[in-house]
Symmetry: C2
Subunit: 198 residues, 2 copies
DNA sequence: TCAGTTAGCAAACGGTGTTCACGTTGTAAA
DNA sequence: TTTACAACGTGAACACCGTTTGCTAACTGA
């Protein structure tokens, strides 16, 4: 039953946006009264919280399929970043729910959900490999993690809110995205040669 | 009178968030009836649109003060980026209204407001200077513009939605932000020496 | 003086998330 | 077989929301 509510809700949300779907409409879709939904969910936030979790599970799955088996961590970051952006463009409602809502508005227990943490740790691990390989020069992992995440996240967000389309002639987005990814992943200034050090 | 409504609205919005302030509450704050507000604004969106414009005017002003007179375009980008993030953290409601709402939800005429375009062009000009100086290697301006904007925008957004605080030990944010800015602005792989060409 | 504009308001419309008292139904123990 | 009880579903209501409508006053210019 919970399942039936969630499925109806998911379908409506994806089609019409989270804000444009009311409890009453979900209830209508499954031909129940609005009050019935509250037998299965404390409130609307809890429904969103569950859907967010499912979104993360699907996201992590897809990312693993796409990038999981790539040996080169830098290439893994590139494919992962492309996946992040593609997900944002293909599933804007889910992207918004998972990555754009305030954490405390959707995460009821105050801790990030397990699946969202898994996706973070996979990303972080790739970054740490790159740092160890000196891909970006002499730099700490935290800095790289949030720099790169900010980069793809910001791009996805700017596109989804219509800010890129307005400013760029109507060329295909994909090549631009790839150039941007390439630029954000460019090698850093490499540490000096051994001779230079003491 | 429009002014009085806007001022009351602005005060409430900044304090309580745009979503938590209703027309009725604004009307209450100036001791008018809700219907009176509709003499001066077509709807709530129009109020937000006007406030957005004012926000941009103030933003451009501040950015000019901070970075306008810096000769080195790369340093100008750094200070400008820091200003963008600082603005986002200091005025999260305005940041959200100006940079996070869907364009067509707040921009009534379908074209971006003048002041928001001015801020874009100032930024873009600095990037073009950098590209000409070969700061980032052989790369087109569009790529750099959206890479850097995505970088600071994404960072501001991740911080404001609580995603950085959750993942990073409670150290001071400022040093991390500066390291991230430095990383995002790192020099690119430089074009080959003249001897290498031809 | 009289017409026309302007400013403000009470009431209502249709919507929202949520709660509550009330039945109905199915099951399991007495 | 009867009784008790929990689970499920509902209609009506509460307190909001943005917005519209019809109505008064008050002011303005001719």
């Amino acid at each position: 039953m919970r399942r039936r509510i969630l499925d109806a809700a998911k379908q409506l949300f994806v089609k019409e946006g989270f804000d444009n779907v009311s409890i009453r409409r979900i209830a209508g879709a499954i031909e129940y009264s609005p009050a019935a939904i509250y037998r299965y969910f404390r409130n609307k936030r809890e429904m969103l919280s569950v859907l967010r979790d499912e979104g993360f599970k699907q996201f992590v799955e897809t990312q693993k399929e796409r990038a999981g088996s790539i040996a080169d961590p830098l290439e893994r970051l590139r494919i992962g970043g492309r996946g992040y952006i593609r997900f944002a463009l293909n599933e804007p409602e889910y992207f918004h729910l998972m990555f754009c809502t305030k954490c405390d508005e959707v995460d009821l227990e105050g801790k990030l959900a397990v699946s969202s943490m898994e996706s973070y740790h996979l990303f972080r691990q790739s970054v740490e490999e790159c740092v160890e390989l000196n891909c970006f020069g002499d730099i700490d992992a935290d800095t790289v993690v949030f720099s790169l995440w900010s980069g793809v996240h910001g791009l996805a967000h700017l596109i989804n809110t219509g800010r890129v389309n307005v400013l760029v002639n109507d060329l295909d987005l994909d090549p631009l995205i790839d150039r941007i990814l390439g630029f954000q992943l460019r090698p850093g200034p490499h540490v000096k040669n051994f001779e230079d050090k003491s």
